[in-house]
Symmetry: C2
Subunit: 270 residues, 2 copies
């Protein structure tokens, strides 16, 4: 298999360059890509070091370079490394300028670095909220945007934290206990916020595997036990008209996106 | 100020489209952009609904549309809404094909939806690690990639969670207590992992403000107390040769990026 290197070079975190680049290289199954992030390139020295790394990576094929550095001189130095320039923005920015009849005002790191303090606070608040309302620790959900329900290890906690950090959304989670499942009843503290509730389920085999990594050979990780809990939880969702999705083959990004869409909640950060 | 709408339309989460779009519109200070995400557009009906929304948004200027939907028929329907097409990928993909002499194999949702189970597990493990090692709860750091030090509310917890979710990196955090600061000593449990340690500091005025939101009028949030703690913490970092940065005007993405760079830790997910 052909081996190539792709560089993500930025004057900021390189997250944007990386997001674009990963999306591009995912389209090519026949190439094995090595991905190298070079963030915070804001001096001539750092740009020269980046150019050298690019030069050194020229083995099997010309290295690809996604360069989101704004400063023209630094861009030139980086591209002296001889990589294939992939600029996702310049042409689009020109299209916007021409169509809207406006001019951009570029500043180093503008797209990445500037802290919007309202967004920052919202994010921190949402993260704290997720931590305090994780795993049924607190069940006062008046402030919650979302309450995720599901059995233990169905993916609730990472999803709630992701929702907080990525979208500034306050997501609580409540773990369906054996008692809830035996009674076939969602607790009133949750049910009274019916319109914020969303369910997560998971393939019982996968669940048993995940639980075994924590506590192998216990009732908790036993396949039959997992099957029973999952089937009870799904019955409980259906009986209460709670929408749910399976996390088995779904990334945290996708789970989060689908929950937001289902509950019609928007990004609180931008 | 001119008001425009930008749409992020995708057959997946729309995170890639949103990342690109936010980066683009951040370059234009003279336009107020309304941002609308339309994720999971994978049927003709959803594409038609998206086209209608785009049509309805045509008020002050032509709506901008970042469309990362792969299916050609769905793309066509979406663009029948009359928005300005901004395709960040097509031209770049063609450049890669021409240069590397390879062909892409596009599949709906490929760039977003496919779950790499190794990455998934690493991410969940890292998130659990961050939760268990948050705020000095557990101080066994053998498995840690990073140990963040700082006074209470300096930004340690959100950074650790972000590092886990975004990079699959295991980040612990230890809050410098008044006792540590009085003794002018970093605990041995932390110091024995010297090469994993990074410090966070913060402007004392900002710290006092943040702490006041939690506990107004207490010693904890008192400005003098915050000044003392911050100055002691910074002295402690300097004395022990611990690199540190200020979180005051720094986004979580940027803090995380800088810590990774300083400790030479790479993304564990891609």
């Amino acid at each position: 298999m052909k081996k190539c290197t792709i560089f993500y070079v930025s004057d900021g975190t390189a997250i944007t360059a990386e997001t674009v680049g990963n999306s591009l290289v995912s389209q090519f199954d026949d190439v094995e890509f090595t991905k190298i992030r070079i963030p915070f390139v804001d001096t001539v020295e750092k740009a020269q070091a980046a150019a050298q790394k690019i030069k050194d990576a020229y083995v099997d094929c010309q290295p690809l370079v996604i360069n989101t550095v704004v400063d023209i001189e630094l861009r030139r130095i980086i591209h002296s490394g001889g990589g294939l320039k992939l600029d996702p923005f310049n042409r689009l920015l020109r299209t916007i300028e021409d169509t809207l009849g406006i001019k951009r005002s570029p500043v180093v790191g503008k797209a990445h670095g500037v802290v919007d303090s309202e967004s920052y606070n919202r994010r921190i608040d949402a993260t704290n909220f997720a931590l305090v309302h994780d795993d049924g620790i607190s069940t006062s959900y008046d402030e919650a945007d979302i309450i995720l329900l599901g059995v233990s290890r169905s993916g609730k906690t990472p999803t709630c934290l992701y929702l907080a950090l990525q979208y500034g959304v306050k997501a609580a989670n409540y773990p369906l206990t054996e008692e809830d499942l035996d009674k076939m009843k969602i607790p009133d503290s949750v049910l009274k916020h019916r319109d914020k509730v969303y369910g997560l389920t998971i393939d019982p085999f996968r669940l048993s595997q995940i639980r075994s990594e924590r506590r192998a050979g216990t009732r908790y990780s036993n396949l039959r036990q997992c099957q029973r809990e999952v089937s009870d939880a799904e019955a409980l969702f259906l009986r209460n008209g709670v929408d749910f999705l399976s996390t088995t083959d779904t990334s945290i990004e996708e789970i989060s996106g689908k929950v937001l869409l289902a509950l019609n909640i928007h990004n609180r950060l931008h």
